[in-house]
């Protein structure tokens, strides 16, 4: 055998879960599928941390003037909840778990473009996460996840710099992952897989990656500027030393509004995959769906000022940002219509993944409609910084983002684990989450209209009833979120074997065995048709 001669690929490499199983083989793996599972465990742990903080807050709020925790502790709890859930759960959720696992498979590739960078991203992410956890353990941070200046840069006595360093470090993980995915989609698509044959999940991850690469550096710069002021006293944001507090808000939201789309665009991709599979139809209006993902990603950069309508920014700026915010809602609305049109004249099976998607549609629609309320200038003046805003963004990020994440986990679970989950229990959990979620967050819309400000650890007695309903809802929600942890773990160990394609889905990821072999495909697939090419009904 001469070294120049390419070795014949073995016909079947072992499954990515088989082969070496030592801890070192996992912690040093370059396989995108194993890295996806590393992320899955990491972000699940962070989700539990963030959820415990939320549970303590809801417990405190069950009574108007409770003293379960001190006000300083309460302020640390909502900061912890926001920071952990946004940066260490929601932003990485679908991209790093499902994106890492499915994206290469969905485009017929053997891995992402830069496997080493991919593993490094996870280590960077974990380092950032540990810094954030360290900040919490040594005493916490009380600035809120928004770090508004001059409170964060001058007045707060929490461990702001450690927490900011954690977010700063985790940002590099976002950037590296985004870069990796962009190159992967450009360079590693299977023969015949042209751009307009890409599954919408790939489009969504691609658009998200672009936002990650473009927006995250702005957050990094903003946190560095805040640090310069806090540590070295350089006057940037604090007016007492010559700074401008609103400058921070502009910079922060220039990242953090696009970050909302980092959290929601991948969900839109997942929903498109599931809805086509369980209605046995092509997506309605594929080109519009692909273009709307890109236009949401682009317009999302131009609406940051709608977080600042009452900040004393100029009236003209307010009017322009309001208009652009309405504009960015159009493609989102169109997507909802197109998903429902996809179901129309389909052949629908109400499996668990589709239940999650239906939940997504309902909650995302309510979240989107109330988002239109908030884009409306005069109405936002009243609702800004109240529980109405809390309810709105939880409907989008949890009702949209987490529902789609869980839907995607269930949809691709047979591929990831090679095993089926118990359908009845899973369906029950999906319905429980939906009910619990609405019980928790719908009352908060009313609380917000009535004037209850966010980040209040005590509140006037007239808000009591609605807060009790919300806290009870949180209990139901906790049960709903706990169930998948249990039955998915059990399924992983002893579920029924799934076979390569239990749903009869069309994506390339379903053409290989479950769980997939280390190098994904024995032979590189060739694509000859459009996505979602289900046989005519």
């Amino acid at each position: 055998m001469t070294p120049t001669e390419p070795a014949e690929r073995p016909r079947a490499t072992p499954s990515y879960l088989g082969g070496e199983t030592s801890a070192a083989s996992w912690l040093g793996t370059l396989d995108h599928k194993r890295i996806a599972l590393l992320y899955l465990f990491t972000i699940t742990a962070f989700f539990v941390v963030g959820a415990v903080a939320a549970a303590l807050m809801r417990w405190q709020l069950a009574v108007p003037t409770a003293d379960l925790v001190t006000s300083d502790t309460y302020n640390r709890l909502f900061t912890l909840h926001g920071v952990v859930m946004v940066w260490f759960f929601l932003i990485p959720s679908i991209p790093t778990v499902l994106g890492n696992f499915i994206l290469p498979l969905a485009i017929g590739a053997r891995d992402v473009a830069f496997p080493r960078l991919n593993l490094a991203s996870w280590y960077i992410f974990v380092s950032g996460g540990l810094l954030a956890l360290y900040a919490i353990v040594v005493g916490g941070v009380d600035t809120g996840w928004t770090f508004y200046t001059p409170y964060s840069s001058t007045y707060s006595n929490g461990h702001v710099m450690v927490m900011a360093a954690g977010i700063f470090v985790a940002g590099f993980s976002s950037i590296a992952t985004g870069l990796n995915f962009i190159v992967t989609v450009h360079k590693l698509r299977a023969p015949g897989l042209t751009w307009f044959r890409l599954p919408l999940f790939v489009w969504a991850i691609y658009a998200t990656s672009i936002i990650m690469v473009l927006a995250t550096p702005v957050l990094a710069i903003t946190l560095v500027l805040m640090g310069l002021e806090r540590v070295l006293g350089v006057g940037i944001f604090d007016p007492r030393i010559g700074g401008d507090p609103l400058l921070f808000q502009h910079l922060f939201w220039f990242y953090s509004h696009p970050a909302v789309y980092i959290m929601i665009l991948p969900s839109m991709g997942v929903v498109s995959e599931i809805i086509t599979c369980f209605s046995r139809k092509r997506i309605f209006g594929y080109p519009v769906m692909a273009v709307s993902i890109l236009s949401i990603a682009g317009l999302g950069f131009l609406v940051w000022g709608h977080h600042m309508f009452v900040s004393s920014q100029s009236v003209y700026a307010g009017v322009v940002f309001s208009f652009l915010s309405f504009l960015v809602s159009v493609p989102s609305a169109i997507k909802v219509f197109n998903w429902i049109a996809t179901l129309h004249r389909g052949s629908i099976t109400l499996s668990t993944p589709l239940l999650y998607v239906l939940g997504f549609l309902a909650l995302f629609t309510i979240g989107g409609l109330t988002g239109v309320f908030l884009a409306t200038l005069a109405v936002d003046v009243h609702l800004h910084d109240t529980y109405f805003v809390i309810a709105h963004f939880h409907y989008i990020m949890v009702g949209g983002g987490v529902m789609a994440y869980l839907g995607g986990i269930h949809y691709w679970w047979p591929k990831i684990s090679g095993r089926m989950f118990p359908e009845a229990v899973a369906a029950f959990a999906a319905v429980t989450i939906f009910v619990g979620f609405n019980l928790t967050f719908f009352p908060q819309y009313l609380l917000g209209y009535l004037g209850m400000p966010r980040r209040y650890m005590t509140y006037p007695a007239e808000f009591h009833t609605l807060n009790v309903v919300s806290t009870l809802g949180a209990v139901v929600l906790a049960v709903g979120f706990g169930l998948p942890l249990l039955y998915l773990t059990r399924s992983f160990l002893r579920g029924a074997p799934a076979g390569p394609n239990p749903w009869g889905a069309t994506g390339l990821e379903w053409q290989t065995s479950s769980p997939p072999p280390e190098d994904n495909f024995a032979q590189t697939p060739v694509v000859t048709g459009p996505p979602y090419d289900y046989p005519p009904l």
Binding site: A362, V381, H382
Partner: protein, 324 residues
């Protein structure tokens, strides 16, 4: 529809509409709510019908509908855009009126401080976490902060304005219903944020007069008089009343006029400008004058600066000399 409106009244019964702006905001909100509920109901019913009718194995026909996809897409893109455009204009119209403060309103100065509201009336009276106003008498609220960002939020008036350190920001309201209404700090400001709560008391003219009579004036005099004291204490006249007018610009009639700064920029001399000119004089130097005035930031107490601004605002323009 009547049923819906009645239930709306039940909800808004919890939250009175006590300012001239409140019913206007509620009207826009009602429109949004009606449109939103209509959309949500139609989509839900439609989805449920589809789920049942096209369940796997049902006999319903699946042959293509025959309408071109692009026509359907175009119609709902345009439809959505038109509805959105309507609400954009509705909201922006009311917002413009909120932001357009009627000229000549009586002023109340409200200072946010961790964690209390310091309310100062023009006649020198001062209260904490209480704000008394007269029914149907619009007032301008001049907001400033001594530390971090706060937000002045009166739910019953549908009014919210962030109070930003380093800035003087005004808002206004016209109370239309007597009663006591809570106001909150809506922008997170630290440990006792949730206790930074006050009450606006809207009194009928008679009750208001009685309240004024029942609260003797403080000894310090009106805000203007206290400001004059500050003006004398800091020796402002030394330069600003220099007969040649070369050392510093004259102050009479400055408030409300247009000033050309050393950098060539033209600004209106509002409260913000007057405050900056005192506290950050380098930034607000007037064209044609050397920078001889020190910055008083950290030297003059924040409340003295506010009083001084009140005094400067009271200075009428000098008598007009006959133009040749």
């Amino acid at each position: 529809m009547r049923r819906f409106l009645a239930s709306w009244d039940a909800v808004s019964g919890w939250l009175p509409a006590a300012s001239s702006m409140a019913p206007r905001v509620d009207r826009v909100l009602r429109g949004l709510l009606a449109a939103g509920i209509a959309v949500a109901v139609v989509l839900t019913v439609l989805t449920l019908i589809i789920l049942v009718r096209y369940r796997r194995g049902s006999a319903a026909s699946r042959s293509p509908s025959g309408i071109a996809t692009w026509k359907i897409e175009a119609s709902w893109i345009i439809g959505t855009a038109i509805v959105f455009l309507f609400f954009f204009f509705e909201g922006a119209g009311v917002y413009a009126d909120m932001e357009r403060i009627p000229p000549g309103l009586p002023e109340i100065t409200v200072v946010g401080r961790q964690w209390m509201w310091d309310v100062r009336y023009a006649d020198g009276r001062r209260e904490f976490n209480m704000l008394h106003v007269r029914l149907n008498t619009p007032v301008r609220v001049v907001l400033s902060s001594e530390d971090v960002i706060h937000s002045f939020f009166v739910p019953a008036f549908r009014l919210k304005q962030d109070v930003v350190p380093g800035k003087i920001v005004s808002t206004w309201f016209n109370p239309t219903r007597t009663g006591t209404y809570p106001f909150f700090c809506a922008q997170y400001c630290g440990t006792a944020h949730a206790q930074m709560i006050g009450a606006v008391v809207v009194l009928s003219p008679g009750d208001y007069a009685a309240w004024v009579r029942g609260n003797p004036l403080p000894r310090g005099g009106t805000a203007q008089e206290r400001g004059l004291g500050v003006y004398r204490r800091f020796g402002c006249a030394e330069c600003h009343e220099d007969p040649q007018g070369r050392r510093a610009p004259p102050l009479a009639g400055l408030y409300g006029s247009r000033v050309t700064l050393a950098g060539g920029e033209r600004v209106r001399a509002d409260e913000q400008y007057l405050r900056d000119a005192v506290l950050l004089s380098a930034r607000s130097r007037v064209a044609g004058y050397a920078l001889t005035m020190p910055s008083y930031d950290g030297i003059m107490a924040p409340s003295d600066a506010l009083d001084l601004v009140a005094y400067l605002k009271s200075l009428a323009p000098p008598p007009q000399e006959a133009q040749p």
